[in-house]
């Protein structure tokens, strides 16, 4: 068996003491920066690049990869504890994870997130090992029209993220799409909606919007009740470990999330972005506990967490087999490989099997380390929530502001975060939910770019979206989903209207 031989080779590399140490350093650092809102893996890896000069290529890559998936673990911690998504993948973890925390179930939420991630990490590592080359071909099958249709499907599913009015959720998605267009237009180079502010020419950063609308607005909401001393997190008995019931309910969502995430992670053009959103939507539609979503459903943590970790692993497939980075972190990995004199691309697997398989094996090792590292930490995190809120929120604010400031070393980003904080607060008051807006914001630029590129390539024929089978499939799925979402709502509205009349 080739696969077994290859994996054996990989593990002999990954389990060498020094590489294990580097892996540990990587996942530890990753967890740390994941927990710190705003400070992301991209900045950290960039700053660490000079340190990697003196390491062997494999040790350097093992460490950097560790930072990447370590940050995914850490990011969900902040999302669950204080409702701040530091990464686009942890936005949906906020929805139910934070609610669980407010009910005194931060421990189970963190544990389920860690275990689901671990499971997903193991499975997707195997997928990478077994199917990397054929799956790389799948990545190439996705052109502009396929991506556009995938984005449409993603946006329709964004509506499911909301638990209130569907009309307002759709409006928020579109507002998000529009906000995502701020900055330099990719196709023409024209500046749009920048109002002469040069800091806006590269668009508004995701972290700025997410931290403003989730983090800042949440702090203000919690401070509303002046006078009475009210603790944000219940003083009911704090649970540390998930109950049997939690485990039972998490199994199927974790499995579904893992496979959806693995599949989407392969697509370099923004597929992994959709992984956690997609998994959440899927669960909300198939779950027996639909009514609990948004109010602390454990499925709403297990599914997106497993999906995002699976996607993080499989997004190495286009990098390792085609030399195509699927996100900024992967682009940095390419930089790191080139500094080491390795040109990433199809020949890495054959010319440097030790590197290729060593890295894959190290992902498994790293995931194991992460779970060993993170499970004992849960106790500490939960303790943190017993700190009085009046002490907690200025500290949260310190981390947020430093993180946002460090994005481009410019106070303007903090100004924007404040602006989105105020806007987020208004939205809460008007019952317009931020999650659909955030997803629209992330996907907006990608959607426009791919639409225009597809039209350029087809010389203006809109039928191209239906002629390509993959693209047509997504569009049909989007339409079916839209009907499924809209029907009950319309029926309800009509009943209400008739009752009124």
């Amino acid at each position: 068996m080739d696969l077994i031989n290859n994996l054996m080779l990989g593990f002999t590399v990954a389990l060498s003491p020094f590489n294990m140490l580097m892996c540990l350093v990587g996942v530890f650092l990753g967890t740390l920066i994941g927990v710190l809102p705003g400070v992301g893996p991209v900045a950290t890896i960039a700053m660490l690049l000079p340190v990697t000069f003196n390491l062997s290529p494999i040790a350097a890559l093992i460490m950097l990869a560790g930072i990447y998936y370590g940050a995914q673990y850490g990011g969900s911690t902040t999302a669950i504890l204080v409702n701040i998504p530091g990464e686009s993948s942890s936005v949906v973890t906020c929805l139910d994870g934070y609610q669980m925390a407010r009910q005194g179930r931060a421990g189970p939420a963190l544990a389920v997130a860690a275990l689901a991630s671990f499971f997903a990490g193991c499975v997707s590592t195997l997928i990478v090992a077994a199917f990397a080359p054929p799956l790389a071909e799948v990545a190439l099958k996705f052109g502009p029209s396929e991506y556009f249709s995938l984005m449409v499907l993603g946006l329709v599913s964004a509506v499911v993220l909301a638990h209130g009015s569907i009309l307002k959720a759709i409006a928020m998605v579109i507002l998000g799409l529009l906000l995502g267009l701020v900055g330099t237009d990719v196709n023409s180079g024209v500046l749009r909606y920048a109002f002469g502010i040069s800091e806006l020419s590269d668009g508004i950063g995701f972290v700025t919007v997410a931290m403003g609308m989730f983090g800042l607005a949440e702090i203000v909401m919690n401070l509303e009740h002046t006078g009475e001393v009210r603790e944000v997190f219940t003083d009911k008995k704090l649970h540390l470990w998930p109950s049997k019931e939690d485990f039972r309910r998490s199994i199927a969502p974790t499995l579904r999330g893992t496979f959806l995430g693995s599949a989407l992670g392969i697509l370099p053009g923004g597929g992994a972005l959709l992984a956690s959103f997609g998994a959440y939507t899927l669960e909300k539609k198939v779950s027996k506990y639909k009514h609990e979503f948004g109010k602390g459903a454990v499925e709403g943590v297990a599914a997106p967490e497993s999906a995002n970790n699976a996607g993080a692993q499989t997004s190495f497939i286009p990098l390792l087999t085609l030399g195509i980075p699927s996100n900024a972190v992967m682009a940095l990995m390419i930089g790191a490989m080139m500094i080491q004199g390795i040109a990433p691309g199809p020949q890495v697997m054959t010319e440097k099997p030790q590197l290729f398989w060593g890295m894959i094996a190290s992902m498994w090792v790293g995931n194991l380390m992460l779970i060993i590292l993170n499970l004992p930490l849960i106790g500490m995190w939960v303790k943190l929530l017993t700190v009085p809120y009046r002490v907690l929120y200025p500290s949260i604010l310190v981390f947020m502001v430093i993180g946002v400031y460090s994005l481009s070393n410019n106070p303007f980003d903090c100004f924007l975060m404040a602006l989105f904080g105020v806007f987020g607060y208004i939205c809460v008051k008007l019952e317009c939910e931020p999650a659909p807006l955030i997803l629209g914001f992330i996907l907006g630029p990608l959607m426009e770019e791919n639409l225009r590129r597809a039209m350029l390539l087809s010389r203006g024929d809109p039928l191209v979206f239906f002629q390509k089978p993959i693209s047509a499939g997504f569009l049909i799925a989007a339409m079916i989903l839209l009907v499924i979402i809209a029907l009950p709502a319309i029926r309800k509205k009509r009943e209400e209207a008739f009752v009124e009349a």
Binding site: L181, N187, V190, R192, R390, P394, C414
Partner: protein, 169 residues
């Protein structure tokens, strides 16, 4: 005409406002706005190119979306007149103001004053926006945050922040 659901009414207005705003910036403002602006000696910057279906211009996508948003806003608005709904929950301006002020103070003081002082300012302003303000506790918290930030961000993650005010370096 009675507004049955004030919350949706305002949400609808907000969406219409954003939708039309994005739309007008993309295609250029309508004539009456141009006339109105002239009264105030204000000149609009005109919109972006619409392009064709093959080579879509920068105005294409935002025009379509802006129009859709305004239309959805209108739906929400009409619905708020027809279906009974909730009032807009009360706004609390004190925490909002202090949290925003703390955030901005830090951002704009960081370069001139350094991490240490600007964190102290941030902690004090934000703590003042809460319900309870205990001098001693806040001072301790500020000191703890100062030490932690320098260790983690400046020393550990080597972010290029000055630690002390510019004149002291």
């Amino acid at each position: 005409m009675r507004i049955k659901s004030p919350r949706d009414f305002w949400a609808g207005l907000m969406f219409i406002g954003f939708g039309l705003g994005f739309l007008f910036i993309a295609v250029g403002p309508p004539a009456f706005l141009v006339e109105l602006a002239k009264q105030f000696d204000y000149k609009f910057e005109y919109g972006y190119q619409m392009g064709t279906a093959v080579r879509m211009g920068p105005a294409y996508f935002p025009t379509v979306l802006g129009g859709m948003l305004a239309a959805l806003g209108l739906f929400v608005l009409i619905e708020s007149l027809a279906i009974e709904g909730e009032k807009v929950a009360r706004f609390y301006f004190r925490p909002l103001l202090f949290i925003v002020a703390a955030n901005l103070a830090f951002a704009y003081l960081l370069k001139p004053l350094g991490v240490m002082l600007s964190i102290a300012v941030l902690v004090f302003i934000s703590a003042y926006g809460g319900h309870e303000f205990k001098w001693k506790e806040v001072a301790l918290l500020a000191i703890a945050m100062m030490i932690m930030s320098v260790l983690v961000f400046v020393k550990g993650l080597t972010l290029p922040f000055p630690i002390w005010p510019a004149f002291m370096e």
